[in-house]
């Protein structure tokens, strides 16, 4: 940096000039960043440089979890094993039905001459950083473009949709949660196929459905699943359950709120979905 003469310690040479230059650079950067994604390369490079710091920050948490895991008592483990066995039995039973249903679905689709989908591929990623305090609900996950993550990819947890990737780094990726105020997600009501859009509110446990007319067939308890219409999310993943439906006669739209199914404020791991391209199985036969 600059070394001035020590005779006049109060003045730093060319300070104003440097500040002016940096301000201009900042404004140009912000402009470019806001308008386009020109700067993804820079972001990625700096993100890769900051990655070790994120790892270090995350280390105590991991250590704590690891300690917790390795000091669980035998009794607890046996209990958990029993619980998991029972759960697996149940899941397997349901899975059998699912296989049958999938086969039936494929057959029916074939009958209807509709293209059938192959199954989505998933991969588990750990969450390294969550920023859900402010209006923006972002999280950083531990895999990036090196593992094939791409912008717009869907994130789910065991219960439902969590969000989607907005920026891919080399070894990390940043994702926006469905509760972010700037996030909107095309959904359908599972009961009757009514299409609408679920918009984030900035509150972690609430989504809004602002575009439903007063006479729409929707009621509390309805499950909303992804419709796949936006192109980003695969079809049929649960998103939220409708909480309240308030119909105000003077207003054109009903006031509908829903609770996200995914445990947005508790997740430590998420699954990333690679939507397999829609293939026509009939063609290959």
């Amino acid at each position: 940096m600059t070394r001035g003469n020590n005779s006049n310690p109060g003045r730093i040479p060319a300070l104003s000039l440097r500040v002016l230059a940096l301000i201009i650079i900042s404004i140009v950067l912000m402009y470019l960043d806001h308008r386009q994604n020109h700067l993804d390369g820079i972001r990625r490079a700096i993100g890769a440089a900051v990655y070790p710091v994120q790892l270090v920050v995350d280390a105590p948490m991991r250590l704590w979890e690891w300690l917790g895991d390795s000091t669980t008592s035998r009794n607890e483990l046996e209990l958990e094993l029993g619980r998991l066995r029972a759960e697996r039995l149940l899941t397997n039973a349901r899975l059998q039905r699912l296989t049958a249903l999938e086969a039936e679905n494929a057959r029916l689709r074939a009958l209807l001459d509709v293209r059938s989908r192959v199954r989505d591929e998933v991969r588990v990623a750990e969450i390294m950083h969550v920023d859900a305090g402010s209006y923006e609900h972002n999280l950083v996950i531990s895999i990036g473009s090196r593992d094939g993550v791409y912008d717009g990819q869907a994130l789910v947890d065991a219960d439902g949709v969590v969000g989607q990737v907005i920026r891919t780094g080399v070894m990390t990726a940043q994702a926006v949660m469905i509760s972010d105020a700037d996030h909107a997600l095309p959904v359908v009501v599972n009961r009757n196929g009514l299409r609408t859009i679920a918009v984030g509110t900035g509150e972690i446990d609430r989504l809004d459905l602002p575009f439903l007319p007063n006479n729409a067939d929707i009621r509390a308890g309805d499950l909303l699943v992804t419709s796949g219409l936006g192109g980003a999310f695969p079809t049929g993943y649960p998103v939220a359950v409708v909480d309240t439906v308030t119909r105000i006669p003077q207003q054109p739209f009903a006031d509908v709120t829903a609770t996200p199914q995914a445990a947005l404020d508790q997740v430590r791991e998420v699954m990333l979905i690679w939507s397999a391209p829609v293939v026509d199985e009939e063609d290959t036969q």
Binding site: M1, T2, R3, G4, P9, G10, I12, L15, S16, R18, V19, L22, I23, I25, S26, I27, V28, L29, M30, L32, D33, H34, L39, I42, R43, I46, G47, A49, V50, V53, Q54, V56, V57, M61, H129, V130, D131, A132, G133, S134, Y135, E136, N138, V140, I166, R167, Q174, A181, D182, D265
Partner: protein, 163 residues
């Protein structure tokens, strides 16, 4: 000469690194909003102490790193940090002789300016956030400043005595 400068730089770099960790470490929701802007405080401190070595350039670079780790508009934190460090460097001689009450008032003003720039850029870019996320760090930062200052002065004194 260069060894002398290296031994002077290392403690600052370490504090900045620790500051970055404190900035991105997850906190419970209840106190998340009150997380002080550690890096802003650190940069103010070093700009008062060593304004020739650590001034606007460092602040700008730290700001860009902060923008990347927060995922904010690239250049937003850089701009804000750069400006408050500029103000600090301009008045660093005064701030060295300020009594604590005046210094705290100055820190409050600088942090408020910092948050205001972030708020302003957010407004232009169309991102809105509740007011508390802007005000809470200013208050917590001002409250924590005296302890922070004492601690860092100790770090500085020790690192100098050691090097």
């Amino acid at each position: 000469m260069s060894r002398d400068r290296n031994s002077r730089r290392l403690p600052v770099l370490i504090t900045l690194l620790v500051g970055l960790m404190l900035t991105i470490v997850p906190l419970p929701d209840a106190i998340e909003a009150f997380r002080p802007s550690w890096l802003a405080l650190l940069l103010i401190f070093w700009a008062i102490q060593l304004p020739r070595t650590w001034s606007v350039g460092t602040a700008w670079f730290v700001g860009v790193v902060l923008d990347v780790s927060y995922g904010t508009l690239l250049g937003q934190h850089a701009l804000a940090l750069c400006l408050i460090v500029f103000a600090t460097v301009r008045f660093h001689l005064l701030m060295r002789v300020f009594p604590l009450s005046q210094l705290s008032a100055t820190i409050f003003a600088l942090l408020a300016l910092y948050q205001f720039i972030l708020y302003w850029v957010n407004g232009v870019a169309g991102v809105s956030a509740p007011a508390i996320t802007y005000w809470a760090p200013v208050i917590s930062g001002t409250v924590i400043w005296p302890f922070f200052y004492t601690f860092l002065s100790g770090v500085r004194y020790r690192s100098r005595a050691g090097g």
